[in-house]
């Protein structure tokens, strides 16, 4: 069984099939959750990266900003990934043939790894690692957004 076969099953059975055959406003509602989630996610990343790269909130410790923004980041990620998975299931075969869909997945994976691994070492005593984490996180998450928007245009 190939990946494409599995993707066919995604959209022809279960949740994918239910979504596929539902009113188009269900898809619209999923898009609303998606845009809310990723705007919240990107704004949290912006606040963290601005602080780590020296673009704002300079009088607060980096660890304090990171800790305060992480709950919003996780809420945004949860909303974006949940709604995104459902959008994907409703049209899996269409996304299979879209190279920007795969690019988005790779960037998303890298961004989550940076968030989970590199941010463990963010500390006011490790300026280089801190700046690197801020830079990579910013580039990767906005890369996810750009790739995601491009999916709809190719």
């Amino acid at each position: 069984m190939t990946v494409l076969d599995i993707f066919h099953q995604f959209q022809d059975a279960g949740i994918g099939h239910a979504l596929r055959t539902s009113n188009h406003l269900v898809g619209a509602a999923l898009q609303l959750f998606h845009i809310t989630g990723f705007t919240l996610l990107l704004a949290s990343i912006l606040v963290i990266s601005l602080r780590l790269l020296g673009g704002g909130l300079k009088h607060q410790p980096a660890s304090e900003i990171t800790r305060s923004a992480f709950p919003l980041f996780w809420i945004g990620l949860f909303l974006a990934v949940t709604s995104g998975t459902l959008i994907f299931l409703s049209g899996a075969v269409h996304y299979y043939g879209n190279e920007y869909f795969w690019l988005k997945l790779v960037l998303l994976l890298l961004a989550v790894v940076v968030q989970l691994v590199l941010f463990r070492i963010v500390d006011d005593r490790t300026p280089f690692a801190t700046r690197l984490a801020g830079f990579l996180s910013l580039i990767l998450w906005f890369g996810v957004g750009i790739a995601g928007r491009t999916i709809g245009f190719v």
């Binding site: 949290s44 909130l57 750009i146």
Partner: protein, 164 residues
């Protein structure tokens, strides 16, 4: 309303509007910019609003958040408005068919009025909010109103292609 419709028709038929609408790369780039600049404009403002209401970053002084993020938020809104105006220029007649567009414009107007009211009433006092985690009631209300109204702007905007 018909004068506005005529104006939209002129925009739609103009050389620039047509070229932007039909271009292979420029239109997607403008639309992508409109979408992702939301993170700077509405997104960062939402974090400020959450601080004003006292729900987020309570240990960071409100004065600090307001002054340090101000340039980024205003820059973000400049890009969001500019790219949005270009999108309207290119698609005016099509989006006017959608009943959600006037709703979006109404929420933008209300958000703007809320912003002006906040600036007029509290703009000169923001520097004083250094210590207290909880801000005056009017400030918390303006923050909550801003969060709600701008969210409705984004959500109604996203519905334009679905309703109409």
């Amino acid at each position: 309303m018909s004068a506005f419709h005529d104006f939209a028709q002129v925009l739609y038929d103009s050389g620039f509007g047509t070229a932007l609408r039909e271009s292979q790369y420029a239109f997607p780039i403008v639309e992508g910019t409109h979408l992702l600049s939301l993170a700077f404009s509405v997104g960062l403002l939402a974090l400020i609003d959450l601080r004003l209401t006292g729900l987020f970053l309570r240990r960071v002084p409100a004065a600090e958040i307001l002054t340090q993020l101000r340039t980024w938020v205003l820059g973000g809104f400049a890009v969001t408005f500019l790219s949005g105006s270009l999108l309207f220029w290119a698609t005016s007649i099509k989006v006017l068919d959608s009943p959600v567009l006037p709703v979006k414009f109404l929420f933008i107007l209300l958000s703007g009025l809320n912003f002006l009211w906040f600036e007029f009433k509290f703009g000169s006092k923001t520097g004083e909010w250094k210590k207290e985690p909880a801000l005056p009631g009017g400030v918390r209300f303006a923050g909550a109103a801003s969060l709600l109204l701008w969210s409705l702007v984004v959500l109604s905007g996203r519905l334009i292609p679905y309703l109409g």
